[in-house]
Symmetry: C2
Subunit: 341 residues, 2 copies
């Protein structure tokens, strides 16, 4: 086996944030790399995935996954290179994806359940794409849209956070299925990108003018599927424009994650009754046994140039705290990735 003589630089959760995450909520720790035990591997992190869901993991609340403990390395998905191995499962030089955490090196059992490591083929797509379209955001988009949204050709699909990690793939997949696709995003640059580069039919800039007017203009036949990444006022507005038997996919509520007061419930939820519509929550892990099918479909479309994978790469693990907050300020443009090595 080979070892490196580097330290492992980590960001650990120092305090449970109230509202937006502050620098003091993090503890930066450097510790020596340890020797491997039998069955273990050591991975040098290349890229980390920064996701809105991470904010939820920092709260001490019952959710679909246990909270990160105080003092624990912050949970994060990532991609890295195997630099040492005492397991037949991975060889030095393999590129693997999994729950590496916010640290420069991950060391542990090759079959660790919470890391859930798997090899990726960077000849098929670059590493950052494996954290985006071919990673959790892509799987969330693909299975959430198909299984819960159930769009049919000719229907109108609206997606919020349209330039973000999940939204970009939701809209592009819906276009492949023959839907009219309208995005909602913040700012002219994102909206132009979504229409001109990703091929959405239209994009509503929620920072400029009214979402209600935008929906009236761009969804003249109403909304059949709404894929919601943001919650709050935008969800409430879309509820007023849904069609009979509409499907609302609740994927996230980024507008509400840093609330210090109660989450704003959708006051227009009785539109579900009037329209015999449904609202359903999805979590990507439920589709784990079929990820390979999602990867195959999305990789095929990527290869054919039918869809694109757009990442926003921030360089340097030391910038992790500021980079994470970009998500909640809407500053990232595409899937946010932190380059570590």
């Amino acid at each position: 086996m080979t070892t490196t003589n580097l330290e492992n630089l980590q960001f650990r959760l120092a305090a449970r944030p109230v509202g937006m995450v502050k620098d003091s909520d993090w503890q930066k720790v450097s510790e020596p790399l340890r020797e491997l035990a039998e069955g273990e591997v050591q991975i040098k992190t290349q890229y980390l995935s920064l996701d809105p869901a991470m904010r939820g993991w920092m709260n001490d609340a019952k959710s679909y996954i246990r909270p990160v403990a105080i003092g624990e390395v912050m949970r994060a998905g990532g991609i890295g290179e195997v630099v040492a191995s005492k397991s037949p499962k991975f060889a030095v030089g393999d590129i693997v994806s999994g729950g590496l955490g916010v640290q420069t090196h991950w060391t542990g059992a090759a079959d660790d359940k919470s890391a859930a490591l798997y090899k990726v083929d960077t000849r098929l797509a670059p590493a950052t794409t494996w954290l985006n379209t071919l990673g959790m955001p892509g799987m969330t988009a693909y299975f959430g849209l198909l299984e819960s949204g159930q769009p049919k050709a000719g229907e109108t699909v609206v997606v919020s956070g349209a330039a973000g990690a999940v939204g970009q793939t939701v809209g592009q997949v819906a276009k492949q299925l023959g839907c009219r696709v309208v995005g909602i995003a913040g700012g002219k640059a994102k909206c132009d990108f979504v229409v001109n580069e990703l091929g959405f039919d239209a994009c509503i800039d929620y920072k400029e003018g009214s979402v209600r007017d935008g929906l009236k203009e761009h969804c003249p036949k109403g909304v059949d599927v709404y894929f919601d990444n943001v919650g709050g006022e935008i969800l409430d507005t879309v509820l007023t424009r849904i069609n009979m038997k509409a499907r609302i996919v609740i994927c996230g509520a980024i507008s509400q994650y840093n609330n210090t007061t109660a989450v704003k419930g959708p006051a227009n939820y009785l539109s579900l009754l009037v329209n015999r519509a449904r609202m359903e929550g999805i979590v990507v892990f439920d589709y784990a046994d079929r990820y390979h099918l999602g990867v195959a479909a999305l990789a095929g479309w990527l290869k054919e140039g039918k869809i694109k994978s757009k990442e926003d790469v921030v360089d340097g693990i030391e910038n992790f705290p500021q980079a994470l907050n970009m998500l909640f300020d809407g500053k990232n443009f595409g899937k946010l990735v932190l380059k570590v090595a």
Copy 2:
């Protein structure tokens, strides 16, 4: 043909109510009965169905049915006897159910679409049961529970408005399907009735103690199906206790119908995400082509004594305004029916 020499006494909508309906929102009108044209029938109203949905029909808002116009006879379902007929469809003496409106006599085409008249067999069940378990509330309960709630034997079903028209049948049908059934109702008398007479496993009195504690006590394995007739705080509380893949059926929101401020949206709706659960709106008219199947199933259980139909009958059409408001004060005990003749 036979005619009566009576006047037709009607309640017409005089003004759109703000908040609770006031007496001045109604206009009581008496007009002479008219002669029938070819194809028409005249029906003498026996009983009228008073339903929470009627409050919504009085608002000038887009909904699943057009609002009642100012000056129009208030819409209501009812049962009556054919007292005159120039149609081969109905004979004098037939008992029919349909949209008779709040009036002593309905006169119109036998095939009028909005009245949607159909003969009922009062040997099978009394007239009031045809407005309850075998009428719209029963159909709402039966199809809403089965189609949207999809309860399985052994699951826990919670229903609010448990002693009301829809709730009583939801719970009893769920018991027939082998579910654990917990009602939510206001007051000890209703709760006792629901448990002792209707056979629910438990009933939580929302006027006495905390619904949250009641759910913890009576739903130790969580909530798989919640059939919501009330909305508001109770919906929000149940959302904190749902299981993975739970189904919430949105049938109504009686707590919100007289709001003068915005409807309270369910602040805990992100529980849908955590639990991959869904919330779906239902409207009974969607099942119209299968009402006969619902009637057959429910009439069978009624005949075998396996379920009961509980009505609260108020006497006299002149008491219509006060009787309607009983629904929103929670004063009715069972399906509210107005006896007209």
